[in-house]
Amino acid sequence: MKKVAITDIYGIFGKISENRKLYIPADDGASQARFLPYMEGMQLTEKLNTVRSAKDLFFPQVENLLKFKVSGKQIEMIDERAPVEPFVVFGVRACDCRSFDVLDNVFLHEEPADTFYKARRENGLIITLACNMPEETCFCTAFGIDPADPAGDITAWQAGDCYIFRGNTEKGKQLLEELELADVQADAVAPQQQHIRTIAEKLPFGKLDLTGFDKEHLMEKFNDPRWAQLSESCLGCGTCTFVCPTCQCYDIREFNNGREVQRFRCWDSCMYSDFTMMAHGTNRPTQKERFRQRFMHKLVYYPANNDGLYSCVGCGRCLQKCPVHTNIVKVVKTLGGESV
């Protein structure tokens, strides 16, 4: 393990960003945090987490896929993507880091792999940061995530007057070598970890009971009459899906300017009325079906198809951001428990 004094962290950022792009969570001028490209003078945020998750850096909201040019009877297809340069993201929380397991299953582990996402995953290096001050909306522990010991290529802790680093992957260890940091004993983070775990014990949803959200109870959950009441006040906006670190649905569209056609993809939301619209119309005619789809996907369909891995990581963004405060915790508490 390596360490650096808190006051020297910006020097380290300077060094990392010398030959690659570095993103750090910083304040955005609207009292909120977001991942921004590091520049000298920039400060780390005091906020626990960013509004938009680290997912955005690997799976952007909009990206061009392909361009078509038509001349006479010829169609030319042009792949315009620029090569992805290596980049580093610092300050990814344990929950957001787990979201990459969820996304990798979708974009990498099913054939064919998504080459856009793949290029960013291969070139991106994730430095996680343990959560010294979890918030009441945090419930990563319910999904077996340890906020005191996040994964990633490198794990960082802010402990006392130091940042302590541990290289987890080859890529991570190599970067730590390059930074030439002072050594520190392996147990240096233990007191800080203990401190974090004590707080995590007190999280109100830290032990959220997920019994019954599995393949065996799929139809029972699907047919539960209480979806109507749960979705009653849902506005049908896309806030929960767009701040979610694991939502991965997108639409592919084309923009035709008369001379050429730009094919692009953009995030889509199952909360929207035109989501997965087909020639015959939509099979989710009301907000109830759309709402149900989102939570069934997170809590039942995805784990049923991915060895029990839930596609919620307990980051709590939807708890904080839903305009009418309907969220995944309320769904679990309503449909779980005695209904199992």
Partner: protein, 325 residues
């Protein structure tokens, strides 16, 4: 007031005035209340909450609810009542099927504001006069209620419920002293370049979740053109970030003179974009060009931009005013 509101909900259900009541349902915490329909004494007793966190404006839900069988009672705060009346004027709500209970309001608090003030991890609250006492994961914290208010309440335009079948608490007055145009004036004083940069910066954070549109009582189209695949302008993604910016400006145009300044757009924006400032700029201009006008304040007047009179300003005013900056 909390108990009065609950008792009224039960009374209206039990004496047969209505078969449903819309109010705010308790959440997992004290601050995460959800708009909900209640149909029995038991449901109301268990879950109904009227508190300083009952911010969501329930008027828009009445478009759908008033078309359902039976009659529904809805609790409206002063600013919500302007939205309700404006919707009535637009023939969007079936008035006969709604029983309006006006509730006096001293301003609504927001957990986002409390978090901005540096208090995190709050799990419980007790109201002690003008102070909120919060139990947090990091010990007990206090914050003055006035420091936890939503912007729209800090600059409250009116404490008067403008339409009701019954009023709970003493009805308030309009507040002409409200400082709600202060920031608009500041923006007007900027050069056009500075103003352009200001809005480019603010709107650059938009993630196009459509929460502002979906919560807006003035945006009540059955299907928004931007959601309609056949409209030719369906816009899940914009061709450029400037197009994204335009969405908000055009939406402000569409609701101009019908927007009551209820402030829901800014309350729900996950990216803290001060969208209400666009609407307030329109309101200020309308006041100046067409005479003082408050959308939703009555049933008789026509919104200036949906009306024509010989006294209307000439369209050339756009060029004259534009050239000043």
């Amino acid at each position: 007031m909390r108990e009065t509101v609950k008792a009224k909900a039960i009374e209206l259900l039990e004496n047969g005035t209505v078969n449903r009541v819309m109010g705010w349902k308790t959440g997992e915490f004290f601050y995460d209340l959800t708009p909900a329909v209640f149909t029995s004494r038991e449901e109301v007793e268990k879950d109904f909450v009227y508190s300083v966190f009952s911010a969501p404006n329930l008027s828009k839900y009445m478009i759908a609810e008033s078309r359902k069988p039976g009659k529904i009672a809805v609790f409206l705060k002063p600013c919500d009542s302007y939205s309700f009346q404006q919707l009535l004027k637009e023939h969007r709500i079936w008035r006969d099927n709604v029983y309006v209970v006006g509730v006096a309001c001293d301003g609504m608090c927001s957990m986002d504001v409390i978090r901005e003030k540096g208090i995190t991890g709050a799990t419980a609250v007790t109201e002690d006069g003008d102070v909120l006492k919060l139990d947090t994961l990091y010990g007990e914290k206090t914050i003055a209620k006035k420091d936890a208010l939503l912007e729209r309440c800090v600059n409250c335009k009116s404490r008067k419920v403008v339409i009701f079948d019954e009023m709970l608490g003493e009805n308030g007055e309009e507040n002409p002293e409200s400082d709600r145009f202060a920031l608009v004036e500041k923006l007007e004083a900027m050069t056009s370049e500075e103003r352009f940069e200001f809005w480019r910066g603010e709107l650059s954070r938009c993630i196009r979740c459509n929460a502002c549109r979906n919560v807006c009582p003035a945006c009540s189209c059955e299907k928004c053109v931007f959601d309609n695949d056949k409209s030719g302008i369906a816009q899940k993604a914009a061709a450029s970030d400037f197009e994204e910016n335009n969405f908000h400006i055009i939406r402000a145009f569409h609701v101009a003179s019908r927007c009551t300044d209820c402030g829901e757009c800014s309350r729900v924006c996950p990216q803290n974009i001060p969208l209400h400032l666009l609407n307030r700029k329109f309101i200020r201009d309308i006041n100046e060009l067409y005479g003082e006008y408050q959308a939703g304040s009555d049933m008789d007047t026509k919104p200036p931009l949906m009306n024509f009179t010989f006294d209307d300003c000439e369209p050339s005013v756009v060029y004259e005013r534009g050239s000043k900056a």
